[in-house]
């Protein structure tokens, strides 16, 4: 029974750490499927987390915080869009640039405005997301097996957590069952086909980039308004890159993305849980290995040893009308 509770606890924290990954990886899904590669997920998420923490602290409203997060993240996306769609610059260079600009400015602005060493003030009450408790969660808590699963694993998360998991089927539906999704996937494969069909490649890609911004906004808001009570400098700590890895690992497919994020989240949760404790059967595993495992797995996948990740055909290439 003790073991079971440990498992539940690990799975619970798996969900907690997976949520920002899911938001960010789905964000990447929208732009990359449209042919705009984005290694700036990290920066957008960080900028959003800061905006959320700062605005929620000042206004005392979690919703204002969320809106600010989305706004900032979309603005950053538009910078990336301007550089890579309008100016046809290198998408990778632009993504790298955004990551740095945000990493620096969140600290400078945070320190200038709040003077707490790059933090935003701790949030409480309405300024932070509250957990949602399912009906009867308390009542069934002690029912064996079902109790812990229902009241600990399923119930008791932030509203954004449920939003993240609902976004998975929703994204699938948008991409594969709507006109927008059809066009978006087409522009990532052959922008010429979209252009000659009378659809603006540029506007379509901008819309994809904006979708990415909105979702990164959620990811950032989750970090500073739900997972923590405020912004801490550098709080994304590479999550944007893990999300990118998950996106590739999932071969640019929505449901796979959720599974990949849960896997990477699980590894993270396990690493935190173990912290020097031996793993049954395997024995002592250095925590650093657990932390590096998502990246190692992605490299192995990229190397084609477990399936092949084929990116959208027009990805990374600015669209130029042929002459």
């Amino acid at each position: 029974m003790e073991f079971f509770h440990t498992i539940i606890a690990i799975l619970e924290s798996t969900i907690r750490v997976s949520v920002p990954l899911i938001f960010a990886a789905l964000a990447g899904l929208f732009t990359e499927r449209a042919g705009v590669f984005d290694i700036g997920l990290e920066g957008k998420m960080l900028g959003a987390a800061f905006a959320a923490g700062a605005v929620a602290a000042v206004t005392g409203s979690v919703m204002m915080g969320l809106l600010a997060a989305i706004l900032i993240s979309v603005l950053l996306s538009l910078v990336h869009g301007y550089a890579s769609i309008t100016q046809r610059g290198s998408q990778i260079v632009s993504g790298v640039a955004i990551n740095f600009i945000v990493a620096g400015s969140t600290v400078i602005l945070g320190e200038a405005w709040f003077k707490q060493g790059g933090r935003t003030p701790a949030l409480a009450g309405d300024a932070r997301f509250q957990t949602v408790t399912f009906p009867f969660a308390d009542a069934v808590k002690d029912v064996p097996i079902f109790g812990p699963i229902y009241s600990n694993l399923l119930s008791g998360h932030f509203i954004l957590t449920y939003v993240a998991f609902l976004l998975v089927p929703f994204s699938w539906w948008v991409l594969y069952r709507t006109r927008f999704g059809l066009r978006l996937r087409a522009v990532g494969e052959n922008p010429g086909a979209v252009d000659t069909a009378g659809i603006s490649v540029i506007w379509l890609r901008y819309r994809a980039v904006i979708c990415c911004g909105i979702l990164c906004g959620f990811a950032g808001a989750y970090l500073s308004l739900a997972m923590s009570a405020g912004f801490v400098k550098g709080m994304t700590a590479g999550k944007g890159y893990i999300a990118l890895a998950a996106l590739i690992f999932a071969k640019w497919r929505p449901v796979n993305i959720m599974l990949a994020c849960l896997l990477f989240g699980f590894l993270d949760a396990l690493a935190i849980r173990l912290q020097g404790n031996p793993l049954p059967l395997i024995g002592q595993v250095p925590v650093q290995l657990m932390q590096a495992l998502p990246y190692i797995l992605t490299v192995i996948l990229l190397a084609g040893f477990i399936g092949k990740a084929i990116p959208p055909k027009a990805g990374g290439i600015p669209y130029v009308k042929e002459r």
Partner: protein, 377 residues
Amino acid sequence: MSNPYAKLPGWAEYGLIPLVNLVVAFLVAGLVVLLVGENPLEAAYHMINGAFGRGEYIGFTLYYATTFIFTGLSVAVAFHAGLFNIGSEGQAYIGGIGVALACLWLDKTMPWFVVFPLAIFGSAAFGALWAFLPGWLQAKRGSHVVITTIMFNFIASSLMVYLLTRVLKPLGSMAPQTRTFEAGGQLPKLDWLMSIFGLDLGNSPFNVSFLLAILAAFGVWVLIWRTKLGYEMRTMGHSPSSARYAGIGEARITVIVMMISGGLAGLMALNPIMGEQYRMQLDFVQGAGFVGIAVALMGRSHPAGIIPAAILFGMLYQGGAEIAFEMPAISRDMIVIIQGLVILFAGALENMFRPAIGRAFASIGRRSAAAAQTRGA
């Protein structure tokens, strides 16, 4: 097929456009300074004073520049072959192992000039090793080097934490770092070089690895434009299908170029480890690999551009510390913003001002032609 932008004279292409991009990056950075309620001009004054005001400051500026020359060259070499190595950061980090091993082994028994060549070899070898895998994976398995090098940065970071907390740390110590090296593991400073210009180095760690960096820059120039390998690299960078036609093995070049790039990144480790801290610490690279991207883009991947670009970033790092001291609202993170802005304007948006500049040149050309005509008439 043809260049969509008007052809510009060389000095405009390689001088004016980077300069305009740089100025815009600084203007935007100035806006951030305004946003935190400080005076950008005052900040600029402290920056320049902090970077060049005294011999000691200049020493620090050049110390940082040394680091950035290595990483800038690392990124640039890969650019020439059409590869984007975002992994210089991790390669430099792993390169540190080579330096540390050489120093830990011989620092007590040998003088620095014996340890130094070994450390050079070690750092380059370990850096090259860390770049070999992404290069090999791209060459043989088709995995994109951009993504794999990002992954390898994180793997390097975890690996180094492990090594520094478990393996390389002296017994009984709590700090995640190697022991401090004895005299053999300490590079001499370049006092004599500074004194030629009548400057006093003070406490700054400006050391002989700077000379190695200059040598490396020259070596890269020779490599790219004066060797067969460089010719093959550039062929592949411009047109992979032409390379195949010419019998230039893409896989071979990819692996070799990545290893050269990684080796150059690895050399960077000499500067902080043997030149300043005299031990290997956690996170000693401090983002220099990423600065290398900005430096390579600013310097247009040419060594003659990379050296000034690296000095510029050295100035930012050193002057930025001075700003942080004089104007507490502006911490050293300001540099990170400027770095990002430079990457944005000199890299992703490099063509933003080109049409306007091209038009300006075209109209000047027309006007002077018209003027010549009226004079002639």
